[in-house]
Amino acid sequence: MLGFKEIKNGLLVSLWFVFLTFPLMVVKVDPVERIVSWRWENSIYVAIGTFVIYCVVKIIMQHRTGNAAVEKEAEQEKESIIHRVLASPKQKYTLIALLLAVAIAFPQFSSSYQTNVMTTALMYVVLGLGLNIVVGMAGLLDLGYVAFYAVGAYTYALLNHHFDLGFWAVLPIGGGMAAIFGILLGFMIVTIFIVNRLQDSRLGRAWIALREDEIACQAMGIDKRRTKLVAFALGAFWAGIIGVVFAAKTTFINPASFTFLESAIILAIVVLGGMGSIVGVILGALILILLPEYLRALSEYRMLAFGAILVAMMVFRPRGLISNIRRTYHSDKKFHPPIQH
């Protein structure tokens, strides 16, 4: 539990926050009517809120250091289950079949609003997986990812506008929503499949090595520039494809949909999930996209909460939700026993 020292610190911290938030939270002026309103009650809320949050964080931290060992073990257990499913081909295909079944069933049993929200989430899963190649695997910072997404969307929109590519035009309407959802789900599975294979390939290893240590990586005979370019190109490829789907889905695009915030959200998906981890990216996308959508009940506090959650996640789990697991290989041959000293 909390000792006297923590309580005292908590009070000091809340005092600091009362000071910090004073001009913005307490004073409100109407410069035209020339009226000043003093909202002193806000100070009290800030003080109490800060103190409570401080205590909760402290208690969690105490709890954490106490149970660190146990928790770590439990975590490894949990992660190895996910990993085992992905590693074993039989279970993987069962999972894929299951997902396909969900894809067909989901639009039938839920409202088209739900389908639409899930479609958006799936788009971000694929975007995240694409950026994961660049950021997660190759360790390159890419803040302009959304540009490739925009290129895809505009390419489709312009082709559609000038050449009237009719097929996709029917998709967004009515039943098409379900079809887009299904196609996206299928596409997501193909993406996972490809990214999974890339991750354990010669190329994937080169990316990860590049992320870990550029100089050592070059010393191992890996062409730095070429490897980076391939990572960028592959990532951009996925963004472009999703851009096309996006344009087909909304039927109307303008630059407002391709802002820096969009890039930041996709980047957040990759980092939040755990850099380089496929399961992590899926989880990250679902959380970051579904959270604001369902937080809509909180309407105006939605983005505030979103920002706070991003910070909290990074502070408490800087390596992301799911840490990356490397594939293990085995040889049939027998080896010398380790040197004993």
Partner: protein, 300 residues
């Protein structure tokens, strides 16, 4: 020729503001290698605090000089306090985390602060009081360069000078330079690195607050979103000049401001940003570390 001078002065003013904000980016990057995305929001909070204090004081009938001084003072104090707190909450626990984690944390902080101001105050644009009066002796050339332009340029120049003295001459400045070169080594020679990092955030935030106050009284309005575009532009300026380099940030800001001004004046304001960012790409192709940035020496 008049037209050229007009554009030049306008560009210089704009560049000076970019430079003030860019310094915060560059100092923080120099010392902990982080792109502090929340810096634009610190600038916005500075402008907002100045707005609140100045308006309250003018309602209570204070004289203009007192308003300017107190509003400036408050903006600096609170912006610094926010900068300090943001570092303690969002970046300090992430000192040893993977490179991208503090970046996400910074983006989260930026979103949070924007919406915090939106909720605590308003989403509407607000009229910012005219803190810099029109000087009578400036009237003959007011159509070319106004009083606010002059005040902004002089203030920026003075601040740069003070900053240079602080960095070059004082103990804190030396400790900052040492920390930015090698954090572990600085720690070993007895520098309290955490305190130096805090100091960097405080100085950077104070500069942004002054920038916020100056530009807000120049254009006469603010809202919670002004930090975003200013932040992106200032960040561009910092990269242009060589991120991590203090003179680089100033040069980058001025180059960017002038480029934008001339692009609007001689080509079209539709392409203002295109020119600005093409310039950035061009400079980075020929000098990847920016105008005054030092090429990174690999330690093997």
């Amino acid at each position: 020729m008049d037209y050229f001078i007009e554009l030049f002065c306008g560009g210089l003013t704009r560049g000076a503001i970019y430079a003030l904000i860019a310094l915060g980016y560059t100092m923080v990057y120099g010392i902990i290698g982080l792109i502090n995305f929340a810096h634009g929001e610190i600038y916005m909070i500075g402008a907002f605090t100045a707005f609140i204090v100045a308006t309250v004081l003018s309602i209570y009938g204070f004289p203009l000089l007192a308003i300017v001084i107190l509003a400036g003072f408050a903006a600096v104090i609170w912006s610094s306090a926010y900068g300090y707190t943001v570092e303690k909450i969002a970046y300090k626990p992430l000192r040893h985390a993977p490179r991208l984690s503090p970046l996400i944390s910074a983006i989260g902080m930026s979103i949070f602060l924007q919406n915090y101001v939106l909720l605590a105050q308003t989403s509407n644009f607000l009229p910012f009081p005219e803190l810099i009066p029109e000087f009578a002796f400036m009237e003959p050339i007011a159509h070319i360069v106004g009083s606010t332009d002059i005040v902004i340029l002089i203030t920026t120049a003075v601040i740069m000078l003070i900053l240079t003295v602080v960095i070059k001459g004082t103990k804190v400045g030396k400790a900052m330079r040492a920390t930015s070169q090698d954090r572990t080594m600085a720690m070993l020679v007895g520098i309290n690195v955490n305190r130096i990092i805090s100091a960097t955030f405080i100085i950077g935030s104070a500069l942004a607050a002054i920038g916020g106050l100056l530009i807000a009284s120049h254009i006469g309005q603010i809202n919670f979103y002004i930090g975003f575009l200013a932040g992106i532009k200032a960040f561009t300026a910092a990269v242009l000049g060589g991120i991590g380099s203090i003179p680089g940030a100033v040069l980058g800001g001025l180059v960017l401001g002038l480029t934008e001004s001339f692009a609007t004046g001689y080509v079209s304001s539709d392409y203002e940003d295109v020119f600005a960012f093409s310039l950035l790409v061009l400079i980075l192709i020929f000098k990847p570390s920016g105008l005054l940035g030092k090429a990174e020496t690999k330690k093997v």
